[in-house]
């Protein structure tokens, strides 16, 4: 098995305008910085992006928004991005806001062969409009459908050419779930290691879910809210 590609440009070379992408990360934590930069450079348009957040104005998915490359966002929280809010309120950008837990479960379902499931989240709210309601144990639940994507793009800490991935800290978030749900999954890693270096007992994403992997470079790893305590 060798899923190694040279760099981000090569990894995203066959991503086309109009495709649906999943992008891992929570806020700016654990986002695929290299691939986002390559997509901006590539200039493709009309993308549907499934990602918990939409970056900030000048980083993360905000870079694709600035260039008007995104047609539709499927997210749970977009509060840190003024350009996003402007495009959404003016109707330029189509937005599907869905509860965070449902988003996670829908990605996991998409990669697991589960076409749909019931969840209590969103019952009685705007999120429930048009969705089937069923009662289990006396409580109302909504039918939510699985999500898949033409490409899932994730960021890991370490990985090998088999596609095995290890995440660091809370940069794990949506990455392992989205890795499962891409028809093609691209993983960019901070550190590419030799097969066997990762302990098989401690692999977060087994290589079967990953089709392309490369070692990223120049990670900025921006912090959105730098909070500290006094010594």
């Amino acid at each position: 098995m060798n899923k190694l590609v040279a760099n981000a440009q090569q990894a995203v070379q066959d991503i086309e305008s109009g495709m649906t992408l999943m992008l891992g990360g929570f806020g700016l934590c654990g986002i695929p910085e290299n691939c986002i930069a390559a997509l901006v450079e590539k200039g493709i348009k009309d993308l549907t992006c499934i990602s918990n957040n939409a970056g900030v104005d000048d980083f993360g998915l905000g870079l694709l928004l600035q260039k008007r490359q995104i047609k539709k966002m499927i997210s749970s929280y977009v509060g840190e991005n003024d350009e996003f809010e402007r495009q959404m309120l003016s109707g330029e950008l189509e937005v599907d806001l869905i509860p965070q837990g449902s988003l996670a479960a829908r990605c996991q379902a998409g990669g697991s062969g589960v076409p749909a499931f019931f969840t209590p989240a969103g019952y009685g709210t705007e999120v429930a409009i048009g969705k089937e309601v069923r009662y289990f144990n006396g409580k109302p639940h909504l039918l939510e459908h699985a999500l898949t994507a033409d490409f899932a793009i994730v960021k890991a800490w370490k990985g090998d050419r088999y596609g095995n991935l290890l995440f660091k800290g809370t940069a794990r978030n949506f990455n392992p779930l989205m890795a499962m749900a891409g028809k093609i999954t691209i993983a960019e890693v901070e550190e590419l290691v030799e097969p066997g270096e990762l302990d098989p007992n401690n692999i977060h994403t087994p290589g079967i879910f990953v089709q392309r992997i490369f070692q990223g470079e120049k990670y900025e790893k921006r912090i959105e809210q730098r909070t500290v305590r006094e010594r």
Partner: protein
């Protein structure tokens, strides 16, 4: 009247030993600073950590270690880290004993609105809809009135809902109230606040039975 810290201090009195607790963004986050002595709780943050500890010392911030408010944090000894699906399995599966979150409006039947002002502010619900739909024990931490002085404790929410009939208790700058089938039941007054003031600031049905004690806050 309480300030935001005071609200957090009062809610901290609701914590019980060995509870797992999810704290929302804003006032709820402050509660971690006022855990009563002898009470051991673990904080969950829905982006994927159980055993969330304090902010790091300056210079020790780690971009890969944040909470759901995107703030840099540290893990406590015994902490664990997991993906978003596992995180919401904890929430939906009712493994968490207490959820505290902020609100723009609460109705006297327990409905809550805190994610959207149509045409003006759309930030998204994040994990709030999952939390309120599943949690058994939900406390809302908020100011009793908005910036224009209008009540946030209503007969019916005017903003798009986050969840229905789910709030159990509300702690505001003026009072502690339980949500009952008959409406908001006044439990305690904030220091120096009269029952009359609370009545005037509450639009929803308010139940006042007997003498209402003043909160005890250090």
């Amino acid at each position: 009247m309480l300030d935001k810290k005071g609200i957090a201090k009062r809610i901290a009195q609701e914590l019980r030993h060995n509870w797992y607790v999810n704290l929302g963004i804003g006032i709820p986050t402050l509660i971690a600073n006022y855990i009563p002595e002898g009470i051991d709780v673990e904080f969950q943050s829905e982006n994927g950590i159980l055993g969330m500890g304090p902010f790091p010392f300056e210079g020790e911030e780690d971009a890969d270690m944040i909470n759901a408010g995107k703030q840099t944090i540290t893990p406590m000894p015994g902490a664990s880290i997991f993906d978003s699906a596992t995180s919401f399995a904890m929430i939906r599966g009712q493994h968490i004993q207490l959820t505290v979150l902020g609100a723009m409006e609460v109705a006297d039947n327990g409905d809550i609105a805190n994610w959207k002002i149509p045409g003006r502010m759309v930030k998204g619900m994040g994990g709030a809809m999952d939390l309120v739909a599943s949690a058994d024990n939900i406390i809302v931490a908020m100011m009793h009135t908005n910036k224009r002085g209008e009540s946030k404790l209503l007969r019916q929410c005017t903003l798009p809902l986050t969840g229905v009939k789910c709030v159990k208790k509300i702690v505001t700058n003026l009072a502690v109230l339980d949500v009952t089938p008959q409406g908001f039941k006044l439990i305690e007054r904030a220091p120096g606040v009269s029952v009359e003031e609370i009545k005037n600031a509450t639009e929803g049905r308010l139940i006042i039975e007997g003498d209402i004690p003043e909160m005890k806050i250090d």
